[in-house]
């Protein structure tokens, strides 16, 4: 009897070992498959951007380029050097930087302030204010195009980088407020009480006590806002044209308006250039992004 049980346990052990091994390999297989699937377009883009037009016509999508040829990158960034009709990314790239930096800064800062007030300086009806702000997250972009265009016109900043900064700041506040409110609600209010007894005022508490412990959520907000604003096409194409356009609009113009042959290598290089800044932000701060999203209360 005792022996019988013993052997059957051994069998069960064996069986579960094989099952586990099979499941593990299956898991890896699926994961690798998906990884390849996601990396594939990037591979095609990079490879194509490094080929000459000759190579593109002769080879397939997957063919390895004959050498590292950055000519198409140079064209995408700096143009060919002949006057009219030559669209290239460089000026619009700087437009986008000039738009994204202040817009991210202001929307993050205002969101932090609002979140601070909504959690630590509660007032009558503050839940309603928060609710209406949240509502802003759900308004479709298209719905505000006309009123916003009119507003920018009245303010005299339509078709300018400043106008786009304003649009993105205003549209970002609901999101940034949501982030900061949810972060600050987990910070013990006793901190604020202690600081008040110590004699610190509204701004001092914000700058000296709360902001220094907000790094994780600041990173999350900055990444979020940067990605949103950098990748925005709708506001950019609606509220700006010509020289004031941000990079995504320029990219579109460049790819669609080429009169002669489609230059796939230049198009691919341009698309990568337009996408690289968000990638850099993710690589630099991605670690904090996960940490910030999952971090809870501040201990002690």
């Amino acid at each position: 009897m005792q022996d019988k049980i013993h052997t059957s346990y051994k069998q069960l052990e064996q069986r579960s070992k094989y099952t586990n091994m099979f499941l593990r390999w299956f898991l890896y297989f699926v994961l690798i498959l998906f990884a390849l699937y996601f990396i594939f377009p990037l591979y095609v883009m990079i490879v194509t951007s490094l080929k000459t037009m000759e190579e593109i016509r002769q080879g397939t999508l997957l063919t390895w380029p004959s050498g590292l040829n950055f000519d198409s990158w140079a064209v995408a960034w700096g143009g060919r050097g002949y006057g009219a009709g030559d669209t290239f990314l460089k000026p619009y790239f700087w437009n986008s930087i000039k738009m994204v930096v202040p817009a991210v800064f202001f929307s993050t800062f205002i969101g932090a302030m609002t979140g601070y007030v909504l959690t630590k300086w509660r007032f009558k009806g503050d839940q309603w204010v928060f609710l209406f702000l949240l509502f802003g997250c759900f308004i479709p972009f298209q719905a505000i195009l006309l009123p916003m265009a009119r507003t920018l016109g009245v303010l005299g900043i339509s078709n300018s980088v400043i106008g786009l900064v304003l649009v993105h700041t205003v549209y970002g506040i609901p999101f940034t407020t949501l982030f900061f409110r949810n972060y600050y609600i987990s910070v013990p209010t006793e901190l604020v009480k202690a600081a008040r007894i110590d004699g610190a005022g509204f701004f001092k508490i914000f700058f000296k006590i709360l902001l220094p412990i907000s790094a994780p959520i600041i990173v999350v907000t900055v990444i979020w806002q940067f990605t949103q604003i950098w990748n925005d096409f709708l506001f950019g194409s609606t509220f700006s044209f010509g020289e004031a356009a941000p990079i995504q609009v320029a990219l579109n113009n460049m790819v669609l308006s080429s009169t002669s042959v489609k230059e796939y290598n230049v198009d691919m290089a341009s698309a990568i250039i337009a996408g690289v800044p968000t990638l850099i932000v993710y690589v630099l701060a991605g670690k904090y992004f996960i940490r910030g999203l999952t971090s809870g209360a501040v201990k002690g």
Binding site: P188, E190, L191, K193, A194, A195, R196, I197, D198, G199, A200, K204, K208, I209, P212, I213, V298, K299, G300
Partner: protein, 364 residues
């Protein structure tokens, strides 16, 4: 001059009444504990004293000066919080001097205060550390230190020990007691822990539903609870409250429990008023520790009760007896053996009893 005086204070959040007509006074150097179950308004009262909450009615005076509308920082108070509330981004030194810096005290004075207090609390070796690098006890000390450097008139403590583990809590309790003995400062201390209240307070104000039930010395709170709430709240296990009636024959006053056929003579009881006692419905209150298994005083009343339940807790045991379908708990040393389901002779120490009116639940 009273260091702190609270006059007819009321507070409500919306329609919820949190504090109702509170009156309190504290003399210089006293240690007042606000004790009560959660939701009784004790923390709100403390926040009001600190100036962190507004007042609906009434006034708060510190040194006879009406501070009801004065900012927290100008009230000359300091507060220690349950979560310590140390500023996470600052090290111990910065935490402790933050208040002094806000008050624009001179650098030399700040440094002097910091050295004095950090030595006194033995945190001088930790000055460069961040709060996250400190243990619970050390955080607690720094939090107290942050309050001490400001040399306030009144210290406010909001459940400062409830985040510590049991052993550390007892240690820190003694330290706070020592601190008070050495510095002789005025303290208002909020807790829901009766042991803390009893051991620390020179005065205890027991609160329930926003009303102070009794404000007295720990001895009086324990021995002469002013109503059944206080009697029930203080002591572990709490006081037995046996329902019954009073009998008065000429000069003899006695108590008869509901359903019982014998009288307990209570001539020695110190009645507030000795009239209208005949047939009065009362609670007869006796603490478990005042019921003995052997006769110790001549005045002890002998009674036969059936033992129903025994709870062994190491140094002592808590026995539950049946007194005409009312439970009576008694505390004995664990060395005494009592058989369950059998009648046992018990002795009530009648000098230690309390009587309460069954209707008003007030002490008579």
């Amino acid at each position: 001059m009273k260091t702190l005086k609270i006059d007819e204070l009321s507070k409500n959040f919306g329609t919820t009444e949190v504090l109702r007509k509170i009156n309190l006074e504290i003399d210089e150097g006293n240690f007042l504990v606000l004790l009560g179950p959660s939701g009784c308004g004790k923390s709100t009262l403390l926040n009001i004293i600190a100036g962190l909450e507004t007042i609906n009615e009434g006034n708060v005076y510190i040194d006879d000066y009406n501070v009801s509308k004065v900012e927290p920082k100008d009230r000359n108070i300091a507060m220690v919080f349950q979560s310590y509330a140390l500023y996470p981004s600052m090290n111990v030194r910065e935490n402790m001097i933050f208040g002094l810096k806000q008050a624009k005290v001179s650098k030399e004075k700040i440094e002097e205060q910091l050295q004095k207090v950090s030595k006194f609390l033995q945190v001088d070796a930790l000055l460069e550390r961040k709060p996250s690098q400190l243990s619970g006890g050390q955080r607690q000390r720094v939090a107290i230190g942050r309050a001490l450097v400001r040399e306030p008139r009144i210290f406010l403590f909001d459940e400062p020990l409830s985040n510590l583990d049991a052993k550390l809590r007892v240690e820190m309790r003694r330290e706070i007691k020592k601190l008070h003995q050495q510095l002789k400062t005025t303290v208002v201390y909020v807790t829901h822990d009766q042991t803390e209240a009893m051991s620390l307070g020179t005065n205890i104000a027991i609160m329930n539903h926003g009303v102070i039930q009794q404000n007295d010395t720990p001895e009086n709170i324990y021995n002469k609870p002013s109503n059944t709430f206080v009697a029930d709240f203080i002591g572990s296990p709490s006081m037995n409250l046996i329902k019954g009636n009073l009998k008065q024959n000429s000069n003899q006053i006695s108590f008869v429990a509901n359903g019982s056929n014998f009288e307990i003579p209570i001539n020695g009881y110190d009645f507030k008023e000795k009239s209208n006692l005949e047939n009065k419905e009362v609670f007869f209150g006796i603490r478990p520790e005042h019921i003995f298994s052997k006769k110790s005083n001549d005045g002890d009343f002998e009674i036969n009760l059936r033992a129903d339940l025994s709870e062994y807790i190491g140094h002592e045991q808590i026995m539950t007896f049946d007194y005409e379908n009312q439970e009576v708990l008694a505390k004995f040393p664990s060395t005494i053996k009592i058989e369950l389901s059998k009648n046992t002779k018990l002795y009530f120490d009648l000098t230690q009893i309390s009587l309460f009116d069954a209707k008003t639940e007030e002490r008579i």
